[in-house]
Symmetry: C2
Subunit: 429 residues, 2 copies
Amino acid sequence: MKILKNIQPNDWSKYMSRPILENEKLTYIVNSILISVKANKDLALKKYALEFDHVNLDALKVSLAELEEASSLVSGELKEAINVAKDNIEKFHSHQQIDEVAIETTKGIKCWRKSVAIEKVGLYIPGGSAPLFSTILMLGLPAKIAGCKEIILCTPSDKNAKVHPAILYTASIIGIKEIYKVGGAQAIAAMAFGTESIPPVYKIFGPGNQYVTKAKQLVQLQGIAIDMPAGPSEVLIIADKTGNPSFIAADLLSQAEHGPDSQVLLLSNDESIIDRTMIALGEQVDALPRSIIAKKALQNSKAILLDSIEDCIEFSNQYAPEHLIIASNQAMQYVDKIVNAGSVFIGNYSCESAGDYASGTNHTLPTNGFAKSYSGVSLDSFVKKITFQEITKEGISAIGSTIEIMAESEELFAHKNAVTLRLKKIGNV
Amino acid sequence: MKILKNIQPNDWSKYMSRPILENEKLTYIVNSILISVKANKDLALKKYALEFDHVNLDALKVSLAELEEASSLVSGELKEAINVAKDNIEKFHSHQQIDEVAIETTKGIKCWRKSVAIEKVGLYIPGGSAPLFSTILMLGLPAKIAGCKEIILCTPSDKNAKVHPAILYTASIIGIKEIYKVGGAQAIAAMAFGTESIPPVYKIFGPGNQYVTKAKQLVQLQGIAIDMPAGPSEVLIIADKTGNPSFIAADLLSQAEHGPDSQVLLLSNDESIIDRTMIALGEQVDALPRSIIAKKALQNSKAILLDSIEDCIEFSNQYAPEHLIIASNQAMQYVDKIVNAGSVFIGNYSCESAGDYASGTNHTLPTNGFAKSYSGVSLDSFVKKITFQEITKEGISAIGSTIEIMAESEELFAHKNAVTLRLKKIGNV
């Protein structure tokens, strides 16, 4: 990590830079995949599976037999852990269900909103060496709680056409049965446009590499909703002298091990905390299986000494981190000052990995500064709120002339007439 | 209107088609405007004002003197109407403020969400012959209630460099003082990237023509949030025999007068209601100042006779209209069956123009079938919900092993270690 001291607020923005992801070649490649899947459907998906994943797929859909087999391949210990996490995530997301009552804005005019589940949603789970089953909990549980009718899941298979049992097991216990062996941009295309095997959905969720991310952006332009824009994962830790350098180092590494482009920042008003964290980092990093990745990420990372915790919070608000950890015994006193962040971890025992897996909060969060305007995934992401209004004769009589005057001023006379006719019928004109 | 009878559910989708808006030339033109504004800032804005709006602008910002003058140019009657609408819109949107309480998902683990205003938002109000001041209420009021710190507004001036007084007056009473004389795609570019005069914002709201819509899509790809994708305005009316043909005709025309591409649909299980509505349409349309526009829109519009109101609701759910009017004395009994719609108007006295102006609900709604996955603008649109968690020693002890097992299964050992170190410190290992 680079250690920076005595930097001035005017220069802060220099240290907030993030990688630039736009790339014309990427757009071209992904666009051609979208076009191909739209035209050739299952055939295109099987062709890409062979080309990119080196697997010859007979069927795209995971069979019932595969689902049943998966359960026997997951250890009891992992099943139990998934169950504990599931309970907490369910509790937190069920708690987000709110019945808004109607309000009478004027006598005779009742207005309300109702949350209605998005009927068809698609979840994408990336492949790779490790099965990201935790993301199925984070996306599948709120989808189920919201009441989405069709929930499908796409994830690439391995070279033997198998999907990792932990993925299948986790999907099963949530009740997701429509699982397809498709990865990458082609999976996003399949869920957006539909194929012979895969039904199209209205909204697509889930993380992925730059191809997946670009595909989500491009199908969004065609009217398919997506969870949020994405970039490399990030953590910003604010530590005062009551922080624990060993914990801080471990939390920084939790982020750094995600990938060489992970963004890791440490801010403190205490020079000794920074120095001791650097020592702890050195001690911990070599023991990690992913130490090469973590070291690369750390090369681009910064530890910055600022004048006060207030300055640290101000810096963080300008950066808008995906994850913000406040490593301090007095963390709660800073909470009200936080304006831009995806998810905030308060105090020395609130580690990011708790939120990543099992505390109950969602781990699908806005990166790349998007926390300035986007929320993380929640129950809200799986519903739309429909507005309703019921206006009686008394109600329209009360606001009729208001509508007539406004409509006339906007030169929309049919709008005015719709009211005038009703007022006449009531006998108010 | 085309009248269709005896159509089968399998053929419904034929009658749900909407205009296709994608256009490569449009993308090229708008992209070049974005690039020009990003590079040349105010200079580009003034050049486009001259080129497109034929106005020579000295200053882009509306002056205090102009704001003060505007108030004297708006009639007392219109001021009073705006005030009534403002009150109702404030009531409905204030009612959407919800303080979520924290939940303890496991003993020692407290999780909660907090709504925090998006700091910088930009509102776009189109120009044209009529001043769309009602949209300022619909966007500005929730922005203020949410607590957005910087609210700016862009709208094109006329050829004399004047903005319509009703626009300036409405913005003033809400407390919006940063108003800029910029229209079209260049206004969206200015708010996205910033210029010497115009500060950049995090999220852009507001309606506009195809250039504005395309510009919003393109800046969204660059990380600026937008309210929602857009298409031509729509109404779908479901009427049973208790509907009022004269009211229905007026409501259809309210939509049709917006533009020749407006989408207007009438569904009924009662042939006589359709026939009588067609007669009323003929009687009303010629009296409208915008009758030529309305007639064009009606040419593409359909009245469809279906077997039952249940079929009408099912058709509507598949179409997902922006506005849905249920013209029936028994309208409330159908409400629970509505799955996809932007805003629903219940009963014969709930006309769309009430919601467009003054009942309290928002008129910025998802068109083009986006109601399947998007909500209309609400207080939610101006905040992001930040997640917080506070975990005690007791809390991490309770879920520590769960996290360790899950992290290890996902091969993320630094994630595991962040927990292990804490459990060791507590003395749990």
